[in-house]
């Protein structure tokens, strides 16, 4: 399934979570450093959150 992290498209497997998307985007360490993940509407989402097709996530 395709999702976007900081506008970068990534292909992930069904059942994978926000954490997997950040791992693939190379941004997981940013969370340890205090950054957070937001959806396209600006809501914070947890690392265990489910991914859905075309979900847009932003790390900042």
């Amino acid at each position: 399934m395709r999702v976007y992290v900081n506008d970068r498209p990534l292909e992930l497997l069904p059942g994978m979570r926000v954490e997997h998307a950040l791992l693939k985007a190379g941004l997981l360490a940013a969370i340890q450093g205090g950054q957070k993940v937001y959806d396209e509407w600006g809501h914070e989402v947890g690392l265990d959150g489910a991914l859905t097709v075309d979900l847009k996530l932003y790390v900042r």
Partner: protein
């Protein structure tokens, strides 16, 4: 923050009593939790500066807020599975504390199926609150909806779960079940319940994006209490005339939504999250006792002997060479996925196990990560590239060092990184670069963890385009079971074999 569906009416309707002949206003409150995943005790999430959560603290706040006005306490799914605290009793402790907290309703989440249908049926039988699943066909213990009378209002709560559930758990966990499209299901029950309720709530475990679409497409839903996307909705989302709320994850917040309803319409609302910070709140004593009792229960289960090893299982050198524990774990993956071969990162193994009886705790210490099994179809060339990556960090004892099953390979330490792998054989035959192989691994590597970008990139590259001379049959993904952690599969291996004595060596050899 306050936002109204019918903002112009807000002030006048909130504070004025109805005049004779006017319709009566009813005030009610929803308290809501989602995606608890068994995080019973306070914990410090990644990047957090202080501990958050703790279900006893959340219960304490709920108990304080509940008497203030007519209230429903709702759970939007994925409550029973996740943290070891819950998993070791297969969700039993969660149901017990939810009973104690007097939940009014819960919708089944996709992870509620992870322990299998028989366990789920037991949990449903223990629950003293209705568990909903209107779009699940084949599990009669799930109710489609419940109508609760709260403060003079009849509130219909319809439960729906993501139709993706069958691809997020092992197929046998959902065998015989159908998951209907939530949109059709909600539309149907709104129609059926039109005369039986004054207010319509969808308790949804399908994630915020899907909840927004549901609100757009299906008129007549007053409130969606959501879960699945673990979204921290600080201020309710409004789509059309539907209010959408969700309360983050892991008991880190309690959602509060206050409404005033007149003539079956929401004329005012105020929604917010109460973040659960143990330092500032008082724990509910009854729930605290339940949590503590199941901590002891979990500890007792971790002390259970699952088998015996006749040799020391080496978890100390998994970043430097093949070890017998690495072999065993890789064998378990290969067998679970029915794969040709398996490859994991040595860094996924964090401790060895001494010869003798093996308790569950030793396995959990050796395999502390919540990894699950994935199998991908790869070309021989891609397998070779993955092995090259695995031995590219020898100098720093990197966690990427591979532990394998179903293949043997040699490598030269003195060669340049990226050109170290020499002979690779599978079932006694040389690896065919153009051949294709079913490769079991863990979800961490499949997402590119430890730098295994070759596995992550394989997903970007559908089977048909894997190479003109190496057309893969079918999709890249052949197997995925997020419902079981790898350590539990290894525990099952010990239980099945009783005694193990995996030999060391023979799969990975260093040559000059």
């Amino acid at each position: 923050m306050k936002r109204g569906v019918l903002l112009p009416l807000i002030l006048s309707l909130v504070f004025l009593s109805p005049a004779p002949g006017q319709a009566r206003q009813e005030s009610l409150r929803f308290l809501h939790v989602n995606d608890f995943h068994g995080f019973a005790e306070p914990h410090r999430p990644a990047g957090a500066s202080e501990p958050l959560g703790g279900i006893a603290y959340l219960a304490g706040i709920a108990e304080r807020l509940r008497p203030e006005k007519p209230t429903l306490l709702l759970a939007a799914g994925d409550m029973l599975q996740g943290h070891n605290w819950a998993n070791l009793t297969r969700g039993k402790g969660v149901v017990e504390l939810m009973n104690a907290m007097k939940f009014d309703a819960m919708v089944v989440g996709n992870h509620e199926f992870d322990f299998g249908q028989e366990v789920l049926k037991k949990r449903l039988a223990e629950a003293r609150f209705p568990v909903l699943g209107a779009n699940v066909v084949g599990l009669p213990a799930l109710r489609p909806y419940v109508v609760k009378t709260v403060g003079g209002l009849r509130v219909a709560v319809i439960g729906v779960v993501t139709p993706d559930t069958p691809v997020t758990t092992h197929p046998h966990n959902v065998a015989g079940l159908k998951f209907l499209p939530p949109e059709d299901t909600v539309r149907r029950f709104l129609k059926e319940l039109r005369e039986e309720a004054d207010l319509f709530v969808v308790l949804s475990h399908q994630g915020l994006p899907a909840d927004r679409l549901l609100a757009e497409k299906v008129p007549g839903i007053d409130v969606i209490v959501g879960g699945h996307s673990h979204t921290k909705i600080d201020t309710p989302v409004v789509v059309g005339n539907t209010i959408i709320v969700q309360a983050w994850e892991h008991a880190k917040a309690l959602g509060v939504l206050d409404l005033i309803v007149q003539d079956g319409k929401v004329v005012w609302f105020n929604g917010y999250l109460k973040e659960i910070k143990p330092a500032f709140w008082t724990a509910d004593r009854q729930v605290s006792k339940i949590v503590a009792r199941y901590v002891r229960e979990a500890d007792a289960r971790l002390r259970q002997v699952v088998g015996e090893t006749l040799v020391d299982l080496d978890g100390d050198h998994v970043r430097q060479r093949e070890t017998n524990l690495g072999d065993l774990v890789a064998d378990v993956l290969k067998e679970a996925a029915g794969a040709d071969l398996a490859l994991i990162n040595g860094g996924s193994i964090r401790a060895g196990i001494s010869r003798g009886k093996v308790r569950l705790k030793e396995l959990y210490d050796a395999l502390p990560f919540d990894n699950y099994v994935v199998a991908l179809r790869l070309t021989g060339q891609e397998v070779r590239q993955a092995l090259e990556h695995g031995v590219s960090g020898l100098e720093e004892n990197a966690g990427r060092f591979p532990q394998v099953s179903g293949l043997t390979f040699t490598y030269s330490r003195s060669a340049e990184a990226g050109d170290r792998v020499r002979e690779v054989t599978i079932r006694g035959r040389p690896l065919d670069p153009q051949g294709h192989y079913l490769v079991a691994t863990n979800d961490f590597l499949a997402a590119g963890g430890d730098g295994y970008s070759i596995l992550a990139e394989a997903l970007e590259n559908p089977g048909e385009s894997a190479g003109p001379e190496a057309r893969l049959q079918g999709p890249r993904l052949a197997y995925s079971d997020p419902s079981r952690w790898l350590r539990d599969l290894v525990a099952d291996y010990f239980k099945a074999h009783k005694k193990v004595a995996p030999p060391a060596g023979g799969r990975i050899k260093e040559v000059d």
